[in-house]
Symmetry: C3
């Protein structure tokens, strides 16, 4: 493992109004930075005409970087295609439900288009060949934020049809699997299979989404395989995975943040193509800074490889909403380390003077001069340089897993819990509650889950699940685990056919209850807190009722239950209860699972792990504008940033938006 | 007339994950059910390839039904077309303003497409031929919820052009009729007639809508004519008429309810194709259950044939918003009878495990087991079986007609009363006020109206009306009737040309006033209640002013007037007054018309009629969660469900969401 | 200059259900009217088939007008094309981002389409030839409310490409100018230039918008050049310029009002084609009547030629929202004169009985009879006739210029200040504040600005500006002027490339400050009033801080500053402060500029100028429902409408919604 924390920025000299490569790298170096990510998105600069290449910007950065002993990550530029490629073959532009997309925006091509693939291959072979041997190059990023772009091209649809034939063999099986007889959608002959654009079958549409997610993962694998022919052993392969982006209003670039599980590629599936997971995480700041997105994103990405990861993009000044208060940029940075990041790169070094994301500001403003944000980065950049990855980067072994699933996400778009409640809302409802209780967890795809590694498993709205996976969870409980499930879990199979018996399917005895009905909760409460969105009317068998609905007609039904099954325990939350109710029950469940609760809660966040030196570290993060203090929880501890040493119980001060990194010391 | 109330459900064994036909029919039978509606929407099952038919599901249901002495209604499956038909001829898919629709959804074909017609004819001939002789088959449903689907196909547009040529003879007449000179839209030669998709002439667009409604009616007539070659004398022909669907937010299946007059087919025109009117009515329930939609829908459909009708679809569990409280399913059912229904079928028997309407739940949940809703249906199913249609089904002779009109509906989409107020809002504003006062009415298309049958006629926003019809209404008043009209009545002719003299056109003397101006009412009141949406500034001649506007500048004008004309009376409401104001005036108008008011008001609803045995019945319905009681209004009455007998004035208890059916007894 | 005020209406006998030309003109004459505008929009009547003309309506109006000694303005009908033209060549319909537009609506053609141009030329030549000699014809209106209609036709795009080649010579310069390397959008060869529909480069898109505005201006120039071959010397050439239209909700005709700077044509550029500026201004009335739109529109249009102008369209009854209170129609009319109008024509004479704008009512309602609004027009029509233009029409010489700019408008659509704040919101924020303080100003395009004519110049959000123009403003200050600029001024060049140094670009020393950062103001105040939308964090050098942000973290930064530079003064407002704060500072700035403040504020508005007789006039306008009074401000004054004479200090009464016209008298 690398000794330095990678600290730097995305850097695009091609975009600049003047030549500043040398000056910029020196400014970075002065701020303690040691790495730049270049080349992604610059295809038209690298290959201005088909077959004619120009690597001068790349070469100049490499040259200056090497002089300054800085590192370079080379990104393949394929996610932003040149216009000559579209002139050569217009069908490279993705065809969505709205028709063929116009050229201009990035990430709008059809990933399986043969012309695109041929030209992309030529491009990246040249780039790999040109850069792989260079000493400054420590790794490669494949494409960027790859997704399936909603393609309905004839290429994609033909491949999907072949996939269905292969998987289901006969149209009869296809019809039965998806219930296509409904509204006369069944087919007798494969050639009658209709264009997917009109599909009204949630199950078939879900299968198509899953198929397209696989195409996107295959595409990264394809780039990785080509890269394998060129790269050195010591160079890593990464990708910049992003999250469901939540807009908060305007249809403009500078709006939205990283919210939840990514719908358009499966991170777990796609991560097989890389050796080092990477991500971008953007989040509200100023008074809205909670740290939840940094923690959620980090827990997702770290869990992909159960290893450290790179934050390949994060915000410096970003949008006007997010201009950080003094101290917040530093808090962001330490928060990423606290989740297990081993590197952090800003998007981007400087603000861009033209184009589309002009007001998605970088570390430098458009004036390219030092400013308060740059000065703050310089401060902790020096701290990082001094301490290094060896002392600050964490590895973790969490006792809790929160299970996520793309198919359930898609399913709940077709069959919504509520107009206002998405799958990711439920994921975040559970995740954020754990986070605020300082219960750390891995965030794990259902297909990657190894139950035996955990004491407690949570399934937020795990709507779609195979019987085999249900049985694995049942086994987990019988062997002593605590399963904590919410409404809309275990309802349908992977093709979104609702299980035709009492729900939760196959788990009536694990949970000690079942339900046949559910309702919109209108003036319904649970444990004194209002219920919103959905209330399943739980008919209790052996379970212990933790709360029944407070309502004239629904009081006969439970809203939350727990049940001993085998050596373990099944908790079931049948409704969107108040968050305080949820946290109360989560604490009870954690205790049942034998997990220790610190009693510390947000806005003070503690995140723990082992550094490379083998020390037990705790990151203490204060997400508030008021100073806080806490008692040293271990016999003797060193606060690494101040190098102060504390005895158990001694008060340690956290400044507003402040950080402490406590190392448990041997006596 | 049938002795049994038809009670059952739509049933789709084709959609089920397992074979349950026998089991399902037995469960129905046990619940007192006696009928299933099958086959509609299952074309791809019935004819998996063009010309190859498979009636096995139909045959099995018929066989089991006959064994159990249950009835079957055969629906033609034409509203959901198979994908092979679209492969054969893509132009069968409807072409709307948004372009050609993708295959998948039902009710998206071009009804006049020759390929569609040819294949549909082949299909339904086979189906009729195959089933008409079967003893269990008591009737046929033609298509389902037929509408014009917004077609702008070249077929439809060419037919419209021919229709215009036929109707207006010369382009000069066309230009003058619709005022096409406006914005240079007039044409000299018929071949210059432009594509209707760009039409900005409200009158011409209204004519096109009316023409398309006729095409939809013709299509049902065409199916009826084919059926006539096959069906037995004793078999009825029905259609499932639906209403304007009001969404309350989300663009998903499980959202919305039956709200008002249907814009996309004219019920009166289309009902000529059937022998027994049928409908579907969906409505809010739980705390939002008022009974108004059941009453409104019933009054509309009963008035089509002045006869009993079938509720071919209504909700069992439906969406999560509507999971009924205990007692409500029974109240729904009796409410339909109280409006004159002679049968009631749920949509649908079981919830569907796949597809699109998975969470539009049936009587059974996805687990296919008995549940509280099924148990409740069983209770009143047995009551119905015991009493029969002879005693429970009503015929009515109402004294009030509420007049509806599709052209006015279309017109007020082009020339809205207000951003937030639609034609149907005005219809419901008037209808609901009558309903809450327990003033029963027929809801009658202006073209079906026989004024002499009524004492009082109401015209909510009857914007578009021919001079002949205005004169019929004038005559009605002169001969002693009470006409109660609202703002925006009698403003334009059938081609939406505003009458170029003082409004209300030709009725200045009937109403004793006219108006030249109107305004958005900003801080305007009438009789102490705020006015919204629109205030016509009524200049009073002979009329009695029931209320003038309360406003600094508009106080010179009346907002509501009444006027004696001939032997009758004209009431005119010039604004959207508070509902309490409206009800107050409605009561006065009813008294003027010689109509008795019971004084009972919502949430207790009384609906009356004569049963087949000739008894006078009153349905008493309690739309509240509090028990109510009422005094027996007749000398001696039997409550049919309890068989208790009461003397005049004796208290009769209505449970929360409860029902009483009081038969006036001979002494 | 004409001695009469032109007073009349748009008149469309072609649209009427019956022949009323003679009757209508007599009714107009009786109301003191002397002019009608005809023929615009009636192409299909004038040329029902290609090459066959019919001028009978025009001839009859001309004949009757001449008899009554009334005037006629002939409008070219080209903005509403006949359907035969679209049948002849479908490509005349504009192709926008949404595709080819359907025929029907007006103002939806591709202005540069050769077929359109050829047919339009034939049409207008015939019309000019037919009417130019007629004595009643006093002028011509070219087209109507011309804009570029969002065309992306191949004609327009090809012309744009030629323009770019001409302007930038090489693709390298093009790439550098717009920063096209971003997202791989740079091109090596001109033939790779992509379709503009997908453009994501704000600068290039802005250039395209500017180019399209020029095409629209060229089109008017082209009509003017043709007209020049026919018209008499004494006939004027005008155009009906309109403003950005602000919808307040519904997507229907009768909704919205004239709000701000027109995005789709540049008034200054286009006005070169006319000899007399014309405009339409629609505005809220009833309790929402402020006069601001009448003043703003008037100040814009008067500034085009620094001369009187025609109000070619304004509202009589218009929509239901705007039915005027008694007295308001008269107040509207005098308000137009107070801004410098020399004529006023209603849109339109009568309400239209069919079509699209049926409820955009004229002076007459659909009944075509006298009504309260007509009677009111008659009253002041007689006043005008009596006084004439000589005494009532104003010329002005304002000391303040408010600078507007289309490129900044477009830029801030791409790079919004805030989701809810448009460029025009800032323009109106500044303009309305001046207006409410009774500080009259010219509203001047940055390219038309002659700084030396003014004492004070205001730049609301002048985002895009050339260095040459910045230097002109700097010079203005150095020579003694007061420059008052807001946030987002002087940020980018004309191709929207952000200036790569400290902002405001080149004006750090004029304003005595700079800024590097800005933020969304969350709970931030300035001088006690909340700040919304944006707060630039001003780092103060020599400037005087008029207010710093009230906020825990931003208090270190100023929000508003003033600075002496040379002989003048630079004011900079870094945020959207409360309007009261803005007005306070504007008053200070006006005093610094040596401008006298009357102390009178809205709802009493005073607007001044010199009439043709050389008298100093003041229009006093009362925009409230309460009577007001004011003191005669001059030694001796005559109120022209009452002919009362007042001495200084004597009280003069303004009725509710009332008007006084005070002439300063020689002693």
């Amino acid at each position: 493992m690398r000794k330095e924390i990678l600290f730097g920025a995305a850097y695009y000299p091609e975009y600049l109004p003047c030549d500043r490569i040398k000056k910029d790298l020196v400014m970075m170096k002065e701020a303690g930075m040691n790495v730049v990510r270049i080349a992604e998105s610059t295809w038209s600069t690298l290959e201005p005409e088909e077959g004619r290449y120009n690597f001068s910007y790349v070469d100049r950065v490499l040259e200056e970087a090497q002089k300054l002993r800085m590192y370079v990550i080379i990104g393949t530029p394929t996610y932003a295609i040149p216009s000559w490629l579209v002139k050569k073959d217009p069908s490279v532009m993705v065809e969505t439900k709205e028709g063929r997309t116009w050229y201009g925006h990035r990430q709008k091509m059809d990933l399986v288009n043969p012309t695109f693939r041929a030209c992309a291959e030529a491009m990246i072979r040249k780039l790999f060949c040109h850069t792989a041997e260079h000493k400054a190059v420590i790794g490669f990023q494949l494409d960027n934020e790859t997704k399936h772009y909603g393609s309905y091209s004839s290429f994609v649809q033909q491949m999907f049809l072949e996939y269905l034939k292969e998987k289901f063999k006969t149209t009869k099986t296809l019809n039965q699997t998806f219930g296509l007889a409904y509204w006369s959608n069944s087919i007798e002959n494969w050639e009658d299979f209709p264009d997917m654009r009109g599909c009204i079958n949630g199950g078939l549409a879900g299968e198509f989404e899953a198929f397209k997610r696989s195409l996107a993962a295959d595409y990264l694998k394809w780039q990785a395989d080509i890269l394998a022919e060129y790269k050195r052993e010591d160079q890593f392969v990464t990708h910049n995975f992003d999250f469901e982006w939540k807009k908060f209003g305007a249809d403009i670039a500078q709006d939205g943040y990283s919210y939840g599980v990514q719908p358009d590629i499966n991170h777990y599936e796609a991560s097989k193509a890389v050796t080092l997971a990477g991500t971008d995480i953007y989040h509200p700041t100023q008074d809205a800074l909670t740290g939840a997105e940094i923690a959620f994103g980090g827990d997702c990405i770290r869990s992909l490889k159960a290893d450290n990861y790179l934050v390949l993009e994060c915000q410096a000044q970003a949008f006007k909403y997010w201009t950080p208060y003094p101290g917040q940029l530093r808090l962001h940075a330490y928060s990423h380390l606290a989740s297990g990041a081993s590197g952090l790169l800003y998007w981007n070094w400087h603000s861009i003077h033209n184009g589309y994301e002009t007001y998605w500001k970088g570390l430098l403003s458009h004036d390219m001069e030092p400013n308060p944000v740059y000065e703050e980065a310089k401060q902790f950049g020096q701290e990082w340089k001094k301490k290094g990855a060896e002392r600050l980067c964490l590895s973790k072994q969490n006792e809790i897993a929160l299970v996520i699933d793309n198919r359930s996400l898609t399913a709940l778009q077709w069959f919504p819990i509520d107009k206002k409640i998405s799958y990711n809302d439920v994921v975040r409802y559970l995740y954020d509650s754990l986070y605020e209780l300082n219960l750390e967890c891995d965030v794990v795809d259902i297909h990657a889950l190894e139950p035996s590694r955990y004491k407690m498993i949570l399934t937020p709205a795990l709507y779609s699940i195979s019987e085999a996976d249900i049985k694995r969870l049942e086994q987990f409980v019988l062997e002593g685990g605590v399963l904590f499930s919410t409404f809309k879990s275990f309802a349908a199979n992977e093709q979104l056919s609702v299980y035709p018996d009492r729900l939760p399917h196959l788990l009536n005895s694990v949970f000690g209850m079942y339900y046949q009905q559910y309702t919109q909760p209108d003036k319904v409460s649970l444990l004194g807190e209002p219920v919103t969105g959905l209330a399943e009317l739980l008919c209790v068998g052996d379970a212990q009722v933790l709360g029944s609905y407070q309502h004239k007609y629904w009081k006969a039904y439970a809203g939350i239950t727990k049940n001993r099954a085998g050596k373990g325990m099944g908790y079931y939350l049948g409704c969107l209860a108040g968050k305080e109710v949820l946290k109360k029950v989560l604490k009870e469940a954690a205790l049942d699972a034998g997990i220790t609760l610190s009693g510390i809660t947000w806005p003070v966040i503690v995140r723990s792990g082992i550094n490379q030196a083998g020390d037990k570290l705790q990151y203490w993060l204060n997400y508030s504008s008021q100073p806080k203090e806490f008692s040293c929880p271990c016999k003797k501890g060193e606060e690494l940033l101040t190098e102060n040493v504390y005895a158990r119980g001694e008060k340690i001060r956290l400044e507003e938006w402040g950080v402490a990194v406590l190392k448990e010391m041997e006596e």
